[in-house]
């Protein structure tokens, strides 16, 4: 099944920043929803803002977002917790770290692995985790360790695995 682009994607002004501030706010919101939806469909965890991808470039109508506008949109998404930069790349939270943490912990509980130490590789056995991005996985573990439900174990100062409580 191919991706069903939203109607806005074929609306030429969607690719130009609107001067009216209220219109711009709702345009930002539309872009955020679109980016999340698109990434979720493609299971894309990372975007390179400078690369030429269909997401920001509709070749059919020959319209694209300028790098400045892309920056503004990604900044907006960062501010509202829908993603963040990992050096040059933008990591998209089509599931928030909290949601990832929730389903990871559920899996740990239901498979009786509490108080066991699991390697990072083993964690990818959790349902929906097989292709998870390392950065996102760490964020999810951070969420759990803040709640006192997980701890990263080190061997010779190298992170070896995670223990769950």
């Amino acid at each position: 099944m191919s991706y069903q682009y939203p109607k806005a994607y074929s609306y030429p002004p969607f690719f130009t920043k609107q001067p009216n501030p209220q219109t711009w706010q709702s345009q930002l919101q539309l872009w955020k929803d679109f980016i999340i939806d698109w990434s979720k469909f493609h299971r894309a965890y990372r975007l390179n803002p400078t690369s030429d991808i269909d997401l920001f470039h509709n070749q059919t109508i020959d319209r694209r977002l300028s790098p400045q506008v892309i920056d503004e949109i990604l900044k907006y998404m960062t501010d509202n917790g829908s993603g963040e930069f990992d050096s040059k790349e933008f990591v998209i939270y089509w599931k928030s770290p909290e949601e990832w943490a929730e389903s990871l912990y559920k899996w740990i509980e239901s498979t009786g692995q509490i108080s066991r130490v699991l390697t990072f590789k083993e964690l990818k056995n959790a349902p929906d985790f097989n292709d998870i991005d390392q950065f996102v996985l760490r964020k999810a573990i951070q969420v759990l360790s803040k709640r006192g439900k997980a701890q990263i174990m080190k061997v010779d100062n190298v992170e070896a695995g995670v223990k769950f409580f």
Binding site: P6, Q18, N20, Q25, S26
Partner: protein, 240 residues
């Protein structure tokens, strides 16, 4: 007769009690009076409204004056349930319950549709977009018109038409469209978008007039601008 000795102390205490009794009974009667007055007033208002039922129903001017009067004296006719045997609101009982309830409800939905899309279309939404938004194909444009009419006493919503197609638009924010703006929006509906070339080909306007009308439309959010064509193009907002 003044009392002497210890008995005079008794008297002053008795006096104080009498005074406080008197004041509370005065308060009570004043309260009763006020409640009475209110009752009488409510009855009079109802009487008035019933007597002038047809005028309230049929004459928008009379209706809005009546509503204004109600507001001035702090009565909300939409909320007042004066007619208990019908169980409906004062207003609904006046105007016939069933049919108006339908329009009131539709009006609420129309208001919601306009509010939800306001930031995207600058507060001007075509009737066909409203029907699409509501997702109910049983609703006709004339239903929407009736619903908007039922909001008229409250102000703030009305219907405007422009362009050769006389497309009906619902306006939900207070604004005054200039003639130039309406003309441009009309052309935009016919062609799909606007540009300076299109405008000057169709209308004998000078450059300044064109730019200022376009700028107004953009800054009030009524059209979206596309800067990636050979010259700027202006589009009507779409229902995203």
């Amino acid at each position: 007769m003044s009392r002497l000795g210890l008995a005079s102390f008794d008297k002053s205490a008795k006096d104080a009690k009498q005074f406080s009794d008197l004041s509370s009974s005065l308060n009570q009667s004043r309260f009763k009076e006020l409640a009475n007055q209110l009752e009488v007033f409510q009855a009079a208002l109802l009487q008035f409204a019933t007597e002038h039922r047809d005028e309230i129903r049929n004459s928008p001017e009379f209706r809005s004056k009546f509503i204004n009067m109600c507001h001035t004296i702090g009565v909300d006719p939409l909320a007042t349930s004066a007619n208990t045997n019908q169980g409906g609101s004062f207003w609904a009982s006046l105007l016939g319950r069933d049919i108006n309830d339908y329009y009131f409800q539709l009006a609420v939905k129309v208001v919601e549709a306009c509010r939800a899309t306001k930031d995207k279309n600058g507060g001007l939404m075509s009737m066909s977009d409203i029907i699409t938004y509501l997702g109910n194909s049983n609703i006709t444009e004339s239903d929407i018109k009736n619903a908007i009419d039922s909001l008229h006493p409250l102000g703030g919503f009305d219907i405007i038409e422009f362009g050769s197609k006389r497309k009906k638009m619902v306006r939900s924010v207070p604004m005054q469209l200039s003639n130039d703006q309406s003309t441009l929006l009309g052309i935009c509906q016919n062609i799909g978008y606007l540009s300076k070339t299109i405008i000057s080909d169709n209308l004998q306007w000078n450059n300044l007039r064109i730019s200022s009308a376009l700028e107004d439309l953009v800054s009030s959010g009524l059209v979206w601008i596309d800067l990636q064509a050979t010259e700027p193009r202006y589009y009507l907002p779409m229902l995203f």
